[in-house]
């Protein structure tokens, strides 16, 4: 069955705005821009179809964020992504160590003192990237432009788009945990066999 798609552009009033944002690599977050999100949500199929035909892959995560998935990102973007990944990883680890529930990252308020702590924590890794405390702040400001973070009350807050990083992070954590378990199992099996031998 061939699919003919009727596109009513009248139902897509913010088409231009959305395209500009997505094309610039920005993530649209429900909590940050509820009106735009509502529109996207109500005509999601249309948008995805339209952008798809134009060659853009619009990804919509139901947890409340959307973005264009680019396969060949510019080196600048990659570098930023890498640095952000590093920053967020440090952040997640720190929060996890503090016993905070990572899924509530939207509640965290990131200020300068926290950046200092992060810097201390990942001192070596950050230096390798050529980043100091000031650079962390600059990075967060740039993250605002990409829709990962918003400024709030003398600091920053993480937006839903951070789930992309968190998902990766959790996958990695699980892999590590699995590896650890395997390691322990191996050790245990060695121990039991040793016991058996002794017995």
């Amino acid at each position: 069955m061939t699919q003919s798609v009727n596109l009513d552009l009248g139902l897509l009033p913010s088409l231009g705005e959305l395209f500009d944002a997505f094309n610039a690599g920005k993530h649209l977050n429900r909590t940050a821009e509820p009106a735009l999100w509502a529109e996207l949500e109500s005509e999601q199929k249309q948008y995805q179809e339209l952008f798809g035909r134009l060659g853009f892959n619009l990804c919509v995560d139901r947890r409340g964020f959307a973005w264009f998935q680019f396969d060949n990102a510019s080196s600048n973007v990659s570098r930023t992504t890498r640095q952000l990944a590093l920053l967020f990883m440090l952040l997640f680890e720190m929060k996890a160590d503090e016993g905070m529930h990572l899924h509530r990252f939207a509640d965290w308020s990131i200020d300068r003192s926290m950046l200092a702590k992060l810097f201390e924590r990942g001192h070596d890794l950050l230096l390798v990237e050529g980043m100091d405390e000031e650079a962390l702040a600059t990075l967060l400001d740039r993250a605002c432009a990409y829709g990962f973070v918003e400024t709030a009350a003398g600091g920053w807050r993480l937006l839903s788009a951070i789930w992309r990083y968190l998902d990766h992070f959790e996958v990695l954590a699980n892999e590590r945990a699995d590896k650890l378990e395997e390691g322990i199992e191996d050790d245990e099996s060695i121990e039991t066999s040793a016991e058996e031998e002794r017995a």
Partner: protein, 924 residues
């Protein structure tokens, strides 16, 4: 399997079918090539079951076009035979009305016999005559409007007219679900068209019983709940930020109250005092005037005394001076006559001096008073004469004149005599040389003119010149000479006397002086004697004078002081008078310009005030001061009034308006002042209100959350319903509502805050300020408001999204937002079918189940087991499943082929093929 329900669908002259009969009481495989009209057949049911054109869906065809398609003429029929529990077989029908392609509904009890619709001539009955035609066949049919038909089919409380029985096909648990039912039914008829997005809406409509569809306007709720709080808070803020003005207002207010009291107290006193003033003034004025006069008189008297005393003193002083001088004189004389102790000495001196003088007087008297200088000069002249005469004498023998006389004529001689000086003429011969001729000649030349002498280079007039010389004889000369010489002798004598006379005169004078001096001395001596005599007396007098002077000095000194005192008194008096005058003037002016003429002063006693606790009386001599004060106070009161007004305006403008409804301005101020004094308590009250407001506002949120939870519970039940089914290769199929975490969190935050407030723990927990300022609360609130704005209100549907959990056998279940992406075609179809049917089933009244039909296109995409599964599931839900495909299926009960001839489609009953399972145990 129920017996009740759809039995058959018949189309006559409709949708390209000349005649179509379709069984609906069991699963059917509808076989025909693509685009033959399979879908049209099943879609025809919409006219009978959906009825509402707005809810019909013919895919890409518009409803109007479809109308034309299904009702090309007035003998186009869509008929449905239904077996109902109460009424038995019932035929529901729809017939075209002709050119307009409109159609109308009818229904009758009885079985569906196609022949009933044929006329005797074999043609189909037309709409106009339908009822009568049916009646002739023993079918009591009725016409229905669309609405009536709907009511009938859906069993609304309004029974269809007529007593043909209850034609309710679908009895719903909730009559208001009819719309949803219809929508879902539409979708279910074309299963593959069911969209996930719609599922959510349908679920909500079905399960969401309690509230209306409209979402809550959270912002409005918040504003409503907080309107009071906000208003109060604004007033509080207005008061807080204008603390300064408040303090000022309070101060002024207090001052005004006391001032009012004071004025009320003093006004009558002032009035009375003003009345008394005139009398007082006059009497006092007279008093002062009298006193002043007396002083002036005293002053005058004193002045006079002073003058008198001064004079006396002066006199005494002078006398004293005189005595003093006498004393001095005596001393002087004493010194002078220190060596003379007797009068006789001096007397003798006088006598001597007199004598000498008299002698000299006599001496001088005889002498002619002629100055020696004069005589000397005369002598000189005489001497000159003597010399001259001697010369003349000497030259007698031959002087120039004589020579000239001899040489010249008389005229010439005359001329020369006039010309030459006498002395020249008398020159001796030694003194000249004469050449007579030469001279004569020269003179002739020169005296050419008479009376004129013409010298070379000089002309002289001789007429006026006198003769110089006269030649005298020797005797004459001798005579004159001797005379002169005598004269000379005489003059010498005189000269001598004259010179001597001067000395004599001088001596005479000297002697006279001596004489006089001697006389004077005597006098002086007498004087001295006198003085000596009176010395003692003088001394006494002097003392007396001096003491008198001293007395007078004292007196005069006293006068000075006294005068000063009187002056001062006078000044004092004058000052008092001036003061009095001044007071009077002030009072007169004050009386004329009373500052309490304003109306406010007349009802001052009625205004709130502090009673004045002060003096009882107003001393009249200070009336002017008091009047001035009074006026000042009046003016101050007016100023206070306007200042207070101004402050009020300021405070109003600054936002403090809650007391403006007070009865009068004073009342308002009093309340304002009270308010200002109790700001901390006000803050607390606002806090409490705010917390209450939070509780109130969360009521609607609670409702929302409650609805969400209710819905979730319903969904769990629903999932049980659909989970019982085995869906092809799915081990798990669930429709889960997933929270929109951010919104739900926001709602939870607000609710939990409210709960904390309710529980009374609140006040300690909000240690960082007002509940209104709590940061996460603020974020939560902002989020809810923004979402509400973006979606036009907050509703349950915004709080969750549906996730279709699909788990293949042996695999982990996955969650999909959209069903179409969830699985293979077959599985998706299954899922959709199950969902749709479950929805419909949910809505139906379980006690009254009538089997209906649903339709699935492209059934070949499913394999056999899937098909069987679908059929069974549909049957369980009370639906007969109609598969459409180009080739027949083996899993169905009926296999129906669409044939085509004569340009029309046909589905004949004769062409139905019933299939029965070979395996006896596999009963469906």
């Amino acid at each position: 399997m129920m017996d009740y329900g759809f039995q058959r669908l018949v189309l006559l002259n409709s949708a390209g079918y000349e005649r179509a009969e379709l069984p609906l009481d069991a699963s059917v495989s509808l076989v025909a090539p693509n685009n033959t009209g399979k879908t049209s057949l099943i879609n025809a049911l919409q006219f009978l079951l959906i009825i509402d054109r707005r809810r019909m869906d013919f895919g890409s065809y518009e409803v109007d076009r479809s109308r034309r398609f299904y009702f090309p003429s007035n003998s186009a029929y869509i008929l449905l035979e239904v077996l109902l529990p109460d009424s038995g077989s019932v035929v529901l029908g729809c017939v075209g009305k002709g050119v307009s392609h409109d159609y109308e509904y009818f229904a009758y009890r009885g079985q569906l016999n196609v022949d009933d619709f044929r006329r005797d001539d074999g043609c189909l009955a037309a709409q106009p005559e339908l009822l009568s035609h049916l009646a002739s066949r023993g079918r009591l049919a009725q016409r229905f409007s669309g609405t009536e038909f709907t009511s009938m089919v859906y069993g609304n409380s309004r029974r269809a007219r007529g007593d043909n029985g209850d034609f309710t096909v679908f009895r719903l648990e909730q009559a208001r679900h009819a719309e949803v039912f219809q929508r879902v039914l539409t979708r279910t008829l074309r299963l593959d068209k069911l969209q996930s997005k719609e599922v959510k809406a349908y679920l909500l409509q079905i399960f969401y019983r309690d509230l209306s569809d409209a979402g809550i306007d959270f912002k409005q709720e918040w504003d409503k709940a907080f309107s009071d709080v906000n208003a109060d808070r604004e007033q509080y803020q207005a008061a807080l930020k204008q603390k300064g003005q408040f303090d000022q207002l309070e101060a002024l207010y207090e001052e005004r109250l006391s001032l009012r009291g004071k004025l009320v107290y003093f006004r009558p006193l002032i009035d009375r005092a003003l009345e008394d003033w005139q009398t007082y003034y006059q009497s006092r004025f007279a008093e002062l005037e009298q006193a002043r006069k007396e002083i002036e008189q005293a002053d005058e008297q004193l002045q006079e005394d002073r003058v008198a005393w001064s004079g006396e003193r002066q006199r005494n002083l002078q006398a004293a001076d005189a005595i003093g001088r006498e004393g001095q004189r005596q001393a002087e004389l004493e010194r002078r006559f220190a060596l003379v102790d007797r009068r006789e000495t001096l007397e003798q001196a006088i006598a001597v001096a007199r004598e000498a003088y008299e002698v000299q007087v006599a001496l001088v008297a005889g002498v002619q008073r002629r100055k020696p200088d004069e005589i000397a000069r005369q002598r000189c002249r005489v001497m000159k004469d003597v010399q001259r005469l001697e010369r003349e004498k000497a030259s007698l023998s031959g002087n120039l004149y004589q020579h000239l006389q001899r040489e010249l004529n008389a005229e010439q001689l005359d001329v020369l005599n006039r010309l030459f000086a006498r002395e020249v003429m008398t020159l001796p011969e030694s003194g000249f040389q004469i050449s007579g001729d030469q001279l004569h000649r020269s003179l002739e030349q020169w005296l050419s003119q008479p009376g004129r002498l013409e010298l070379p280079g000089l002309e002289l007039q001789l007429a006026g010149l006198p003769e110089q010389h006269r030649q005298r004889s020797a005797e004459e000369i001798e005579q004159e000479l001797s005379d002169v010489q005598c004269q000379l002798v005489l003059l010498d004598e005189q000269l001598r006397v004259a010179e001597e006379l001067q000395a004599a005169e001088a001596l005479k004078r000297e002697r006279e002086l001596d004489y006089q001096q001697a006389r004077l001395d005597l006098e002086a001596f007498d004087v001295l004697a006198g003085l000596r005599a009176s010395a003692v007396e003088r001394e006494q007098s002097l003392l007396a004078f001096q003491s008198a002077v001293a007395e007078l000095d004292v007196k005069l000194g006293g006068v000075q002081a006294e005068l000063r005192r009187l002056r001062e008194q006078l000044d004092g008096m004058r000052k008092q008078q001036d003061e009095l005058e001044g007071q009077h003037r002030k009072i007169c002016i004050g009386r004329d310009q009373r500052c309490d003429g304003d109306t406010v002063f007349s009802y001052l006693p009625d205004l709130p005030q502090y009673p004045w606790a002060g003096r009882a009386a107003l001393p009249i001599e200070q009336l002017d001061v008091h009047l001035g004060e009074y006026q000042q106070d009046c003016r101050r009161l007016s100023r206070l009034d306007s200042e207070v007004r101004g402050l009020l305006v300021e405070l109003h403008a600054g936002g403090l308006t809650k007391f403006q409804a007070a009865a009068d301005p004073d009342e308002e101020i009093r309340m304002m002042v009270e308010f200002g004094r109790h700001l901390p308590q006000e803050f607390e009250a606002i806090e409490r209100k705010a917390r209450t407001a939070v509780v109130n506002v969360t009521a609607c949120l609670r409702q929302l959350r409650g609805s969400l939870n209710d819905f979730k519970a319903k969904m769990r039940q629903f999932n049980l319903l659909i989970g019982r089914r085995r869906l092809s290769d799915l081990s798990v199929f669930k429709i889960e509502p997933e929270d929109e975490q951010d919104l739900v969190w926001a709602i939870e935050t607000l609710i939990s805050t409210a709960e904390q407030v309710d529980s009374g723990e609140s006040f300690d927990l909000f240690d960082h300020g007002s509940v209104l300022d709590d940061e996460s609360l603020g974020r939560a609130k902002a989020l809810l408001i923004r979402e509400g704005d973006a979606r036009g209100g907050l509703a349950v549907e915004h709080l969750f999204r549906l996730s279709f959990i699909v788990g293949k056998e042996g695999q982990k279940p996955e969650a999909f937002a959209d069903l179409d992406g969830a699985a293979s075609n077959g599985t998706v179809l299954m899922a959709k079918l199950v969902t749709g049917l479950a929805l419909l089933h949910q809505m139906q009244d379980k006690r009254y189940s009538v089997r209906a039909a649903c339709y699935l296109d492209e059934a070949l995409a499913l394999d056999g087991p899937n098909q069987t599964s679908l059929i069974d599931t549909a049957a369980e839900f009370g639906f007969a499943l109609i598969f459409a495909s180009p080739a027949p299926l083996a899993t169905v009960r009926y296999c129906v082929r669409i044939t085509r001839h004569g340009g029309h489609n046909h589905v004949s009953r004769k062409n139905w093929q019933e299939l029965e399972p070979i395996v006896a145990g596999a009963e469906v």
